[in-house]
């Protein structure tokens, strides 16, 4: 799967592809829903600070934490540490107080360099990327598909459901070509 995805972003005959778009190595993604007390516990025991300000995400050594909604976060960390973290969180958060669900395989992510982002993403996304700074995130629509967009210092990360991978990469290719 990953190979075929990478092939889709290889330069085509016109040599126009590239444009700072790359597929992200699949990380472990944990959908976390929990109340404030549990969030505090997670910070204490796992050194993961969960952002409470809407549309923010925090990059940290232990794991990245992305605000999705009130009491709802996406935890991201490398696959090598991911399953262990998932088990720790599931142990810490029994079903009676929250939910830590593995959604690693549910999403595909690509990065777009900041200098290409506005030209490329603005062809299908109504967000104002100019206003987004490192640490900002937003849920929006790109090419009529739900996406989660994270802003880092040098690039934007665009996450979408894996079933749209083929469609989204074709769309990105077509827009890069234009």
């Amino acid at each position: 799967m990953a190979d075929s995805i990478h092939n889709m972003l290889e330069p085509n005959s016109s040599g126009t592809v590239g444009a700072g778009v790359e597929i992200l190595t699949p990380p472990t993604l944990i959908d976390l829903k929990a109340g404030n007390e549990v969030a505090e516990k997670i910070r204490e025991l796992n050194s993961i600070v969960l952002p409470t300000v809407p549309n923010k995400w925090v990059h940290q050594a232990s794991a990245d934490a992305i605000w999705i909604g009130p009491n709802h976060w996406l935890i991201r960390l490398p696959e090598s540490r991911g399953q262990a973290m998932l088990k720790r969180l599931q142990k810490l958060i029994p079903a009676s107080v929250g939910a830590a669900t593995d959604v690693s395989a549910a999403y595909t992510g690509v990065t777009v360099r900041r200098d290409h982002a506005i030209a490329l993403l603005s062809q299908g996304c109504p967000l104002d990327f100019f206003l987004m700074n490192n640490g900002d995130c937003a849920q929006s629509i790109l090419a009529r598909t739900s996406v989660l967009i994270l802003c880092t210092e040098k690039q934007f990360e665009v996450w979408f459901e894996q079933s749209y991978t083929n469609y989204m990469l074709r769309w990105l290719n077509s827009r890069i070509a234009q």
Partner: protein
């Protein structure tokens, strides 16, 4: 007309590059920078199209987007109907034809309608062709054929050529149609002197500025005007400075056509006919510097080719070097046309006369005219136009106001001419202001509507605000730019210095002071004598010969039509508009509306202010559907979802279908030379006799946990979920509050307070949203809902040998019946991949659904496929799945679950636990509603099976079950097919009171051209066609039976 190019004038032209083009089959040559209109005028082509209703020959009236006549059909390079010749850039290979004429614009058979004009006055379709009723089928196709301008022609390039994946092909196809979102602090619409001044102010503060201009070169109407040199050079210098700033985005050839809520505007950038970009712009502040449109005068035969707006005649000369006429009559009611006459005269064009409806003229312009030897006819009008076959002369007569109406007071004098340059005043382009919700008000001095109260963060300025000279426009532009910055939070004192720095050197426009921000009202009615801008509105001119005087050229609406509408009682201008269609054509009343309002005012004794305006709606200018939906020919028109196994399906020649929620699924897997029916039959029999494998990853999957999960699901489902033990599941129904079936699926208990439930593929998002609504809004339930549809790939192995296949693949999960019974689930490994396995069935056979993380989906599938080959495993698609579930009598949401069905209608009472205290829909199920379709009504449609009398005849899904006399419907067929297992056709249907009609014969309609699947003696499939019988209804008989055709006691799926 002996039109020609001026030798040296033509600021928009590149005379070094000649461009060849074709119009109505004839080849012509123009220059780079020409529009189709200017090139045609330069080549002496005067008739461009025929009019919409009377098929009158029409020429070119205007120079820009306001043109109401010159619509053409573009044939290449990119087919486009209803293109404006005045905005269509000339490019090599351009081929266009006239619209609304046959065989051509000079001789058109449709012109007969002009002779019959008395039969088709305004609103004729409300009066004539109404009776006899049986005549309408005769009239309708004729009227439809006559209506409309141009035809939509789909590009002849193949879908492959349009594939956006292929850049080369995309270029070969000749261009692209794109869309972009943009955001800015200040959007400046228009880049004439006003827009430039606003941009200078806005850009210097570092805010994000977008300038959208419908022309290729900044300057607005100045390049087409006389004596604009100093202003143009200031604009040029200003733009060089503006363009150097990173915070400014300058969109040329971009027509802003819509202004919606919250500062959202739409614009179409058209770099060439086949290269467009639809901009969706969100602006915090908007400066509307959209200019003004010159107004025609309504006089007899004012639509003849050779009648042109005065400003257009001058613009064609100055911008394109086109001399539109050698001997010109200028007809006006204001001073601006005099300046046109003077410059035309100065360029060697003879001015036959200036006909002015005003009796008292501005002394300055009068003396200028006299000094040039130009004849002026004050207090006069054109009463006759001699224009056959070309414009030759006009008849001019003096007029006077008698009893409030203009009338002729003298003899007619004839002037020969080949061009009539008309000016009836100027209409500020208030369209965008009005679309944004702003009000307009009538300005008596200027005789036009100007912007009033604003409703959004917009600032009208310049000519669009009623400022009609360059200096005032620039002043107003500075003011608007500053207002926009102030609204963004900048301090006014910051602008004083910078404004003085930006002032032009050739002349010094007034630099607004901070406290003058709001002093731009042009409605003061101050009477400086003479007022160079004042006009004498002249809506209703004498028409002694009763020839057509057109108010709306695009829709062929005459002043007589307006009078008729008023006579018939349509006094509101909105009703006049609807009755006569004035202002409703493709030009959206850009040249017509104010004349309509003025005439209505005149005819009803009101003022234009009292009459009011009609509603301005987007789009301001025509926008093609291709620009709005640019990917319609491509696979990217809508998102397609694929499962991790899609690649395998395609590689194995599956015919892929698009199903619910955008999922692409395999329909069936034909082998060489295998038909669909044979393939489906083979796949079905494989499942019944050996084993099949199918991809059910699109099924919705939701995890629910939390302390309230038991109670939550008990209320969501009709069954009692809370009694489930971990590792066990149950089939469940979700109802809406009206008791109708919303969705069905299975729910499994994964652990304490932790559940997994499945939904139908198409309803997955609906169900998640529904559950979240219940959780957050209705019950505030302590549960956590997570959609995991994308997380898990779901492979189903079904059939009597399915257990052996999974064991052969390798698993640590005990699969025997005792350890792993029906409706159980288990965690473990399958093919060395971590998996969770559910024992559920949608085929009626022993069946296992194996969930693995999506990344492992294809690996698991291939392992099962490989292990299953020795067992005769076959891949099955959704077609076979549909047959198998119908044989078993399982319902499908969308077929049997049609949005109206109750559980009891579908024989699913057993899935409803009425002993529960409550669940969604329960109250509706037990109510004693007397309505005929209420839950307890006796004659509700019930799910039944149907067996056709002819076992080989397959009913069409959706066929109606009709009463004995064939007059009323008693139900319909929900699923129907040939069952390979039973060797005959079967069907499911919803039949009124069906439960009590078992073994009865019913009549089912057979579709026209219905395909009847039969088998000959050699058991080979053949199809025949069945046609309607003489009474227009073909029926066949079928016997009502229980809806389960296979394994009625369920022993196979539990085995």
């Amino acid at each position: 007309m002996n039109s020609a190019r001026h030798a040296s004038i033509g600021s928009s032209l590149n005379r070094q590059v000649a461009v060849s083009f074709e119009f109505n089959g004839r080849r012509y040559t123009g220059f780079q920078g020409d529009t189709l209109a200017s090139a045609l005028l330069a080549n002496g082509v005067r008739v461009i199209a025929r009019s919409f209703k009377y098929h009158r020959p029409r020429g070119i009236l205007a120079v820009g987007v306001e043109e109401p006549n010159a619509f053409v059909q573009v044939l290449s390079p990119q087919p486009e109907p209803l293109a404006l010749a005045t905005t269509l850039k000339l490019e090599p290979g351009l081929r266009a034809v006239s619209v609304n004429c046959y065989p051509g614009p000079r001789f058109d058979i449709g012109a007969l309608l002009g002779v019959l004009h008395r039969l088709i006055p305004a609103g004729f379709y409300y009066k004539t062709f109404k009776s006899p009723g049986r005549g309408w089928p005769v009239y309708e196709p004729i009227i439809r054929r006559l209506a409309g301008l141009g035809v939509v022609r789909v590009s002849t390039s193949s879908p492959a050529q349009n594939n956006p994946d292929n850049t080369n092909n995309s270029k070969n196809a000749g261009g692209s149609q794109r869309q972009k979102f943009a955001h800015c602090d200040v959007l400046i619409v228009g880049c004439g002197p006003t827009g430039t001044a606003a941009a200078l102010i806005a850009a210097q503060k570092g805010v994000r500025v977008i300038i959208a201009d419908c022309q290729s070169i900044a300057g607005g109407s100045l390049p087409g005007e006389c004596y604009a040199g100093p202003a143009l050079s200031w604009i040029k210098r200003s733009h060089e400075s503006i363009k150097q700033q990173d915070n400014v985005q300058y969109l040329t050839d971009t027509q802003v056509f819509g202004f919606y809520e919250h500062g959202f505007l739409t614009a179409l950038q058209k770099n060439s006919p086949n290269n467009t970009c639809l901009w969706k712009i969100r602006a915090r502040q908007v400066v509307l510097a959209t200019g003004a449109i010159e107004r025609p005068l309504v006089f007899p035969d004012n639509d003849r080719p050779g009648v042109m707006l005065a400003s257009a005649a001058l613009a064609y000369l100055n911008q394109y070097g086109v001399i539109c006429g050698r001997r010109v009559v200028v007809f006006c009611n204001n001073n601006s046309a005099y300046h046109v006459a003077f410059q035309l005269h100065d360029q060697g064009i003879q001015i036959a006369a200036i006909v002015d409806t005003r009796s008292h003229l501005d002394p300055d312009v009068r003396s200028c005219a006299i000094s040039r030897g130009i004849v002026i006819k004050p207090g006069s009008t054109i009463v006759r136009v001699s224009a056959w076959p070309i414009l030759k002369a006009v008849g001019i007569a003096p007029i006077s106001c008698v009893n409030g109406k203009q009338g002729m007071v003298g003899a007619t004098e004839e002037f020969s001419c080949d061009l009539i340059a008309v000016s009836g005043g100027w209409n500020p382009s208030v369209h965008l202001h009005s679309q944004s919700g702003g009000q307009v008000r009538y300005n008596n001095r200027l005789a036009c509507f100007v912007p009033g109260r604003t409703a959004q963060a917009s600032h009208s300025a310049g000519a669009s605000n009623g400022a009609f000279n360059v200096e005032t426009c620039i002043d107003d532009g500075f003011r608007a730019g500053r207002d926009a910055l102030v609204a963004l939070g900048h301090k006014t004192k910051d602008f004083e210095l910078s404004l003085s720095q930006q002032s032009p050197t050739e002349w010094a426009p007034h630099t607004p002071k901070a406290d003058e921000t709001k002093k731009t009202d042009k409605d003061t009615n101050a009477t400086t004598n003479p007022d160079p801008l004042a006009i004498e509105p002249c809506w209703h001119l004498p028409n002694p010969r009763k020839h057509h005087g057109f108010v709306d050229f695009a829709n062929d609406v005459t002043q007589d039509d307006l009078a008729l509408a008023l006579t018939e009682g349509y006094e509101s201008v909105e009703l006049v508009k609807r009755y006569t269609t004035a202002g409703m054509g493709p030009d959206q009343g850009r040249t017509a509306n104010v004349n309509v309002i003025g005439l209505v005012a005149d005819l009803t004794g009101r003022t234009p202010d009292q009459v009011g305006t009609t509603t301005f709606r987007p789009p301001f200018a025509p926008v093609s559907f291709g620009a709005i939906a640019p990917s319609s020919h491509t696979p990217l028109i809508r998102p397609i979802r694929q499962t991790p196994m899609t690649g395998w399906h395609v590689e194995n020649d599956a015919v892929m279908y698009e199903s619910g929620a955008g999922w692409q699924r395999p329909g069936y897997y034909p082998r060489a030379h295998e038909s669909m029916a044979t393939t489906v039959e083979r796949e079905c029999l494989a499942v019944r006799l050996k084993a099949g494998i199918y991809d059910s990853s699109p099924l919705g999957k939701i995890e629910i946990c939390g302390p309230g999960a038991d109670d939550f699901l008990d209320r969501v489902y009709t069954c009692r979920v809370s009694r489930l033990k971990p590792g066990r599941g149950r089939y469940g129904l979700m109802l809406r509050e009206d008791g109708r079936l919303l969705d069905d699926g299975v729910v499994f208990k994964l652990g304490e307070n932790h559940y997994w439930l499945s939904t139908t593929s198409g309803n997955a998002d609906v169900v998640v949203a529904w559950l979240e609504y219940l959780r957050q809004v209705v019950w505030h339930a302590p549960v956590f809902i997570t959609s995991v549809t994308g997380q898990w790939a779901n492979t189903v192995v079904c059939g009597p040998l399915s257990r052996q296949i999974i064991e052969a693949t390798g698993t640590d999960i005990p699969l025997d019946v005792k350890a792993f019974p029906f409706m159980a689930m288990s965690y473990g490994n399958v093919a060395d991949l971590p998996a969770r396995v559910f024992r559920v069935s949608y085929t009626g056979e022993l069946s296992y659904e194996i969930n693995v993380p999506a990344r492992n989906g294809r690996a698991l599938w291939e392992a099962l496929w490989s292990a299953g080959q020795s067992f005769g495993l076959q891949a099955i698609g959704s077609e076979a799945n549909h047959v198998l579930r119908t044989e078993k009598g399982y319902i499908s949401i969308g077929h049997e679950g049609d949005g109206m069905a109750l559980p009891s209608d579908l024989g699913l009472d057993w899935a409803v636990d009425q002993t529960k205290s409550d669940f969604i829909g329960k109250r509706s199920l037990i109510t004693d509603d007397p309505e005929p379709d209420a839950p307890k009504a006796t004659h509700r449609p019930k799910l039944i099976g149907l067996l056709t009398t002819d076992p080989q005849q397959v009913l069409a899904e959706g066929s109606q079950i009709v009463s004995a006399n064939g007059c009323s419907s008693e139900g319909f067929v929900t699923a129907s097919m040939y069952s390979p297992t039973l060797g005959r056709s079967i069907a499911l249907a919803l039949l009124n009171d069906g439960k009590n009609r078992l073994d009865q014969l019913v009549q089912v309609t057979v579709q026209q051209d219905a395909t009847v699947h039969r088998r000959d003696k050699a058991n080979k499939e053949k199809t025949t066609k069945k046609f309607l019988n003489s009474n227009g209804l073909s029926l066949c008989q079928a016997k009502v039976c229980p809806p389960i055709f296979y394994d009625q006691n369920g022993s196979k799926l539990r085995g």
